[in-house]
């Protein structure tokens, strides 16, 4: 119960901060729009080929917008050493980390919903909206893994002077299995092929669990 109360208190605070500042979501959404417009101009995709390219384009957008957004959420904690309020409270490192993962996941999913809609409009690809409910489990699992590693690395990077510069270089190699799982499972759904789909979903689950356990251990030491 204590763990849940602490986690909810921190998530509530993060949502309030975002409602006030609107920094993370506006930054992520603007970046995703910019990337989609660039892809739209650079790639000449017709109704057939867009289905093949959609998973890759979408996950590139999710990854880059997500990195920027998560970097910002950890900077909010480091500004004015605000996170010390949590460090010096009885709240456990586990609830602190879990709360930050949940907050980042919520922001990430919101950005992803907007990105999917923008993609459907810009690329005239209605199928993406129709198939969205079926995409949700894979999006959720992929985003969860992304959010776990992103939360850990964004905290690691804010402790360094070159943190924001280093984040993508440190983060992307580690999160590669999640990106592969996310792209492939989305591709399977859009191409309506069930072959290998459950295998990729299982891979995402395994990596999510593994990343959560390892990140928690590291985060406790980091604090």
């Amino acid at each position: 119960m204590k763990f849940i109360n602490e986690t909810v208190t921190i998530v509530r605070k993060d949502i309030l901060l975002e409602l006030r500042g609107k920094e993370v979501l506006s930054l992520m959404t603007f970046l995703s729009l910019l990337l989609l417009v660039i892809f739209n101009f650079a790639l000449d995709l017709d109704k057939v080929t867009v289905s093949d390219f959609a998973p890759g384009i979408l996950w590139v957008v999710f990854a880059f917008s997500g990195i920027i957004g998560m970097g910002r959420t950890s900077m909010v904690e480091r500004d004015e050493d605000a996170y010390l309020s949590i460090i010096f409270s009885p709240a456990s490192a586990e609830s602190f980390f879990t709360a930050k993962v949940i907050s980042n996941l919520l922001f990430l999913l919101t950005m992803e919903v907007v990105t999917v809609l923008l993609f459907a409009v810009l690329f005239d690809f209605e199928k993406l909206v129709v198939f969205f409910p079926r995409l949700l489990p894979s999006l959720l699992l992929g985003s969860l893994g992304f959010s776990i590693i992103g939360t850990l690395f964004s905290f690691l990077s804010t402790t360094s002077r070159y943190g924001e510069f280093l984040l993508p270089f440190l983060f992307l190699p580690v999160v590669a299995p999640i990106l592969l799982g996310g792209v492939t499972s989305m591709d399977k759904i859009l191409s309506e092929s069930s072959e290998g789909f459950s295998k990729w979903m299982n891979i995402l689950i395994v990596f999510d669990v593994m990343y959560m356990v390892l990140s928690l251990i590291l985060f406790i030491h980091l604090l």
Binding site: T9, R20, D81, Y83, L84, S85, F88, S92
Partner: protein
């Protein structure tokens, strides 16, 4: 009984020693004031005492009633140079956040009382970013007081405060003594620091020069120590 004990503690930043072989025991109910010129290692010592910085050498031992398995979360309140506030949240939201993290309920009255005491009740619905530096400092201190921790660590608590609020904070910290709390304060304001302490530690270039009780040293002697250190060649 020692709440915190430092054994031969030292800290090195990029091969420059900031703290050298400090041995210090802080008993329950002590009001310790740290004095020393800039760069004496006071802030480093406070961070090590509070557990947010690891010493390069030596050991910090917390009493069992203060920590479970070396974890002092919830037992120490720390006010550093920065105010540890969320600028986009309002005064009330900041203080409510801390109150909830401490698992305390029905805090309306306690929060109102504290905010009134610190002159922030009228500004409770304003975002922290709109407050003056002095108000932010007051809120940071109020936030600490509401936690009811065992040990209070204050690093330059009077920064940005005018005389009126300096007196209020002084009384607030003094009131902690009546509640048998332990306070560790570091300040450049000698009069205020002397008024707050019952034990005084004087640091210079990372070394603890002396540790004396109130009946062993007067304010004038502390001032004289500062004057001597400011002499050229020292």
């Amino acid at each position: 009984m020692n709440m915190i004990k430092l054994l031969n503690v030292g800290k090195v930043y990029h091969s420059r020693p900031a703290l050298k072989c400090v041995d210090l025991g802080i008993e329950d109910g002590t009001m310790l004031t740290l004095f020393g010129p800039n760069g004496a290692g006071k802030t480093t010592l406070l961070k090590i005492l509070a557990g947010i910085m690891s010493p390069s050498e030596g050991r910090v031992i917390y009493s069992p009633e203060l920590s479970r398995h070396g974890d002092v979360r919830g037992s120490i309140s720390y006010l550093g140079h920065k105010n540890s506030l969320y600028n986009e949240l309002t005064v009330l939201e900041n203080i409510n956040f801390v109150f909830r993290l401490f698992g305390r309920k029905n805090g309306k009255e306690a929060i109102e009382k504290t905010l009134r005491e610190f002159g922030l009740w009228e500004r409770r619905r304003d975002p922290v970013r709109e407050l003056s530096q002095g108000m932010k400092r007051r809120l940071a201190i109020a936030k600490g007081f509401i936690t009811d921790s065992r040990i209070f660590v204050f690093d330059e608590p009077f920064t940005g405060l005018d005389l009126r609020w300096r007196d209020t904070i002084l009384s607030g910290i003094r009131a902690l003594k009546a509640k048998r709390k332990t306070t560790i304060t570091c300040t450049h304001l000698l009069e205020e620091g002397y008024e707050l302490g019952n034990i005084f530690a004087f640091f210079h270039r990372g070394s603890l020069l002396f540790l004396k009780r109130r009946d062993e040293i007067g304010l004038n002697e502390i001032k004289e120590r500062f004057r001597l250190l400011e002499e050229p060649g020292r």
